[in-house]
Amino acid sequence: MKARILITLKTGVLDPQGKAIQKALGSLNFDGIDGVRQGKVIEIDLAETNEVAARKQVSDMCDKLLANTVIENYDIELIPSAA
């Protein structure tokens, strides 16, 4: 099983990278950009094959390490391995 975790900043939390990208896109003449946010994606190959157990394991990982839940949200997507 593969887990894809999207980690994004909570609304209201400062995002200097997102802001800088927005500015840079502007100066490259891309327009119509109303906002940019940058986050992380972490992909984990898991031995676990049961979806419920996998989700539980990954959300534990997020709470304990992968996300700083004071400032970040996470979202887990599970992708079963091609059998």
Binding site: G12, L14, D15, P16, Q17, A20, K40, K64, L65, N68
Partner: protein, 229 residues
């Protein structure tokens, strides 16, 4: 004064901190490896600068989950003095011992240069040898020093006088001009609500000798000694 310095893989300013402490207190600190579960009984625990675990994932994140942290939390809660410098500050926010978090510098670049700071609170064990409102000059060397706290937390910090140092211009203006990294309210260093844990981004340990351009950093260590002598 007995002191200990925590060392994680990737820590790289532990020698600088040890030199500063030794110079001021006459006693070399004990180096404590991150795998250890007991920090010796000391008056001061320093979490030094560097790139613990390469700052991978988030600055300080992996270090904050090291075995040694449990005892650090325990000792901090019992009132032992804890000083986090640069990466140490980032680690302390990741453990929750200090509020808020440190984001990438607004300009996105790593920055190494001198900054000015105003002493906002000289009634702490870290700053009692500075004059109130004194303008001091420290070097910075960081990539993620942009202090952030949500409005409620920020209000609590400010109301309780937890801010110890603020970035300022050479003449003491607390403005964006004097703010190297975008920190909210120009916060460069702050304590926890009990006042025994402080984190700051600038490097007092690199300004302890006139030969190196000044001694403003030394005063912080002298403040700490004064208390624990």
């Amino acid at each position: 004064m007995k002191s200990a310095i925590l060392v994680f893989p990737g820590t790289n300013r532990e020698r600088d901190a040890a030199d500063a402490i030794k110079l001021v207190s006459g006693k070399a600190p004990t180096m404590v490896w991150h795998q250890e579960t007991d920090i010796p009984d000391v008056d001061l625990i320093v979490v030094p600068g560097g790139f613990s675990y390469g700052d991978y994932l988030r600055a300080g994140a992996i270090a904050a989950r090291s075995p040694v942290i449990a005892d650090l939390m325990k000792k901090a809660k019992s009132g032992i003095t804890v000083l986090g410098i640069c990466n140490g500050f980032q680690i302390l926010t990741e453990t929750g011992l200090l509020p808020g978090s440190l984001a990438r510098n607004t300009g996105l670049d790593f920055l190494c240069h001198d900054v000015h700071m105003k002493v906002d609170n000289n009634q702490t064990r870290f700053s009692n040898k500075y004059a109130p409102g004194q303008i001091i000059r420290f070097p910075i060397a960081h990539h993620d020093g942009n202090y952030f706290a949500d409005p409620d937390t920020l209000k609590k910090i400010e109301d309780a006088g937890q801010v110890v140092f603020r970035y300022c211009t050479p003449n003491g203006d607390i403005s964006m001009q004097g703010n190297p990294n975008g920190s909210i309210n120009n916060i460069a260093g702050l304590t926890n609500s009990d006042g025994n844990v402080m984190g700051l981004m600038p490097h007092p340990e690199n300004l302890i000798d006139p030969l190196l351009g000044g001694t403003d950093g030394r005063i912080m260590f002298e403040s700490l000694i004064g208390r624990a002598a």
